[in-house]
């Protein structure tokens, strides 16, 4: 059940240039939050920005949750200016998170850019469910923006890196590394990142017969399934089923259910 709570900020520190990590005390939310779910954070007391901002749970701790976020625009700039001790209104947990099938033997997490945000919580859960840490592929523009590598390594994950400029790891994108890891029908891929990277990942999964869950983003208003603002096109052709809501039908979807061709990449940032 989602809550709307005023929570105390415990920490809000830089994680990389223009990337920060905020930890908020939220025992009820922490009790229920699942990897891949998210919360809507209110960024201002006044009405500009009016809408809350969706943020995935990076970690779910005993009494707290952590968010890892990129400073993009007005809302995240305001988040970045908040200080420990201040309160923030948190609405969550929301959405459908990742599902973990422990009968599958290989689990690979693939992240592009800030898409890494929900994966530490997922790696935790996979490790617990499968009694083995998953493999993780992290892609970023350049070394400075590679996030969470240490976090995954400390969980015992095998971590593969890729950067656009080759400043660390493989030169190229995360999906190339994934291909090299040779997923097969007994592999579960979990991906989060820019749409082109997720489409490429979905194609690799389809070709190799691996299962693939993707966590999508969309502009959201309610987070509750009410406004129908956050939809993406699914493969279902029926008028009533065509548009699926990222906030409640997702944000995690089976990659096979998304109509990757319908997606209009011209609108992605």
């Amino acid at each position: 059940m989602p809550y709307v709570l005023d929570c105390e900020i415990a920490a809000n520190d830089e994680a990389a240039p223009a990337h920060r990590r905020m930890r908020v005390c939220a025992p009820q939310i922490a009790r229920e939050a699942q990897p891949g779910q998210f919360a809507m954070l209110q960024t201002a007391d006044g009405y500009a920005p009016f809408l809350r901002r969706p943020m995935s749970f990076e970690r779910v701790l005993p009494e707290a949750v952590a968010f890892l976020y990129k400073v993009e625009g007005e809302g995240t700039r305001l988040l970045a200016a908040m200080r420990p001790g201040q309160t923030i209104s948190v609405h969550g947990p929301l959405g459908k998170g990742f599902s973990i099938d422990s009968t599958i033997s290989r689990h690979i997490l693939v992240a592009g850019g800030i898409g890494v945000a929900p994966l530490p919580a997922l790696a935790d859960a996979v490790t617990r469910a499968c009694r083995r840490p998953p493999d993780v592929v992290i892609g970023a523009r350049t070394k400075r923006f590679l996030l969470c590598g240490d976090v995954f390594r400390s969980m015992g994950c095998e971590v593969y890196l890729a950067t656009d400029d080759g400043s660390v790891g493989e030169k190229g994108v995360a999906s190339h590394v994934l291909e090299r890891l040779a997923p097969n029908p007994d592999t579960q891929i979990y991906a989060c990142g820019p749409m082109p990277m997720m489409r490429a990942t979905a194609q690799i999964a389809a070709r190799s017969g691996a299962a693939c869950q993707v966590s999508l983003e969309a502009q959201m208003a309610c987070g509750d399934g009410a406004c129908l603002g956050c939809v993406v096109e699914s493969i279902f052709e029926n008028e009533g089923e065509k548009m699926v809501r990222v906030c409640t039908d997702g944000p995690v979807f089976d990659a096979q259910h998304i109509d990757w061709n319908a997606h209009n990449f011209a609108y992605d940032r």
């Binding site: 059940m1 989602p2 709307v4 209110q42 009405y47 500009a48 920005p49 009016f50 809408l51 809350r52 609405h91 969309a218 502009q219 959201m220 208003a221 309610c222 987070g223 509750d224 399934g225 009410a226 406004c227 129908l228 603002g229 956050c230 939809v231 993406v232 096109e233 029926n238 008028e239 009533g240 065509k242 548009m243 409640t248 319908a262 209009n264 011209a266 609108y267």
Partner: protein
């Protein structure tokens, strides 16, 4: 003494003057997780059409200063699914239902109204004649929405009036030179009330990609940004109408709702604010009761039109 909160919109009784705005509260289910939706004066549902609709391509939303532009394009489950799945949920929870409907012809509105009435799936009908986001609304030169043309408002309202005995609300657009004209047209055609306002047409562009922010190019503006515009239209319309007005547009708090009542609205609807604060409408019911008690006003109807000028 507890003040009276009950209001009537034609034959529709609302236990308090607070409903939610169509399209911002789903079919009630989404918000029943947060509070007892029967505590509202009514639940106004997302516009339904005869057949399910997929709506517009995404992106459908963009935020603007103190507002939201949306171009959902009336995605909805369609009448059959509403009757089978949504109405029973609302009835089970004891909600008073204002069923918002949309059609591309008077006939479609009438069929929707008739079938809703037959199925006892609505306590009132709200005819959305003012959605800026559907392509039936052609964009040639000249006004494009039914609600922009008083004669067409009269035509649609008359047809609906003949088709149903349910209380009939007509929802109008602010994109007119004078809101009194379509409002009077609705009244003369037999409507029991008018709902003011739907969203204001608007647009936003991404300077980097040069693309419109919405795939539909234009959208409807809602939220606190439009509150002064909505309030003025409620004031204008209510002074010439004999029938009630349901006021909406940027209502976020009880003081906002009270402004609309003072301007002449008999009830109010909370729209975009539910996105920010899921129980906003309930908080407004409570704030309104507190205000009445604090000012020792025995009946909320005493506030209606009670602006001091």
């Amino acid at each position: 003494m507890k003040p009276n909160l009950e209001v009537r919109i034609g034959a529709l009784r609302m236990k308090n003057p607070v409903t939610v705005a169509s399209g911002t509260f789903g079919y009630g289910q989404e918000y029943a997780r947060y509070f007892d939706i029967a505590a509202l004066g009514a639940v106004t549902i997302k516009s339904i059409t005869l057949k399910p609709r997929a709506g517009n391509a995404p992106p459908r939303l963009v935020e603007t200063p103190a507002g939201i532009l949306n171009a959902i394009g009336l995605q909805n489950v369609g009448l059959d699914a509403y009757l089978a799945e949504k109405a029973p949920f609302l009835r089970k929870h004891g909600a008073t239902i204002i069923a918002n409907i949309y059609g591309s012809q008077p006939d479609e509105y009438c069929e929707l109204a008739r079938r809703l009435e037959e199925a006892h799936a609505a306590d009132a009908i709200e005819a959305n004649l003012s959605c800026p986001n559907v392509h039936d609304a052609a964009t040639a030169r000249g006004p494009a929405l039914v609600a922009q043309i008083p004669e067409r408002v009269a035509e649609y309202s008359r047809a609906l009036r003949a088709a149903t005995k349910l209380p009939l609300l007509v929802k109008l657009t602010p994109n007119v030179a004078d809101i009194r004209e379509p409002a009077l047209a609705a009244q003369e055609a037999g409507a029991d009330g008018v709902s003011l306002i739907n969203t204001l047409m608007g647009m936003a562009i991404d300077p980097e990609t040069r693309r419109p922010r919405l795939a539909n190019v234009i959208g409807g503006l809602s939220g606190p940004a439009i509150r002064p515009v909505a309030l003025k239209m409620v004031w204008d319309a209510s002074r010439v109408l004999q029938i009630p007005v349901i006021g909406m547009g940027g209502i976020c708090t009880a003081p906002d709702a009270i402004q609309f009542l003072l301007a002449g609205a008999n009830a109010v609807a909370v729209g975009s604010m539910s996105f920010r604060q899921p129980d906003a409408a309930l908080q407004i019911v409570r704030g309104l009761a507190d205000y009445l008690e604090h000012h020792q006003i025995p009946d909320v109807n005493d506030l209606v039109g009670a602006i001091a000028t």
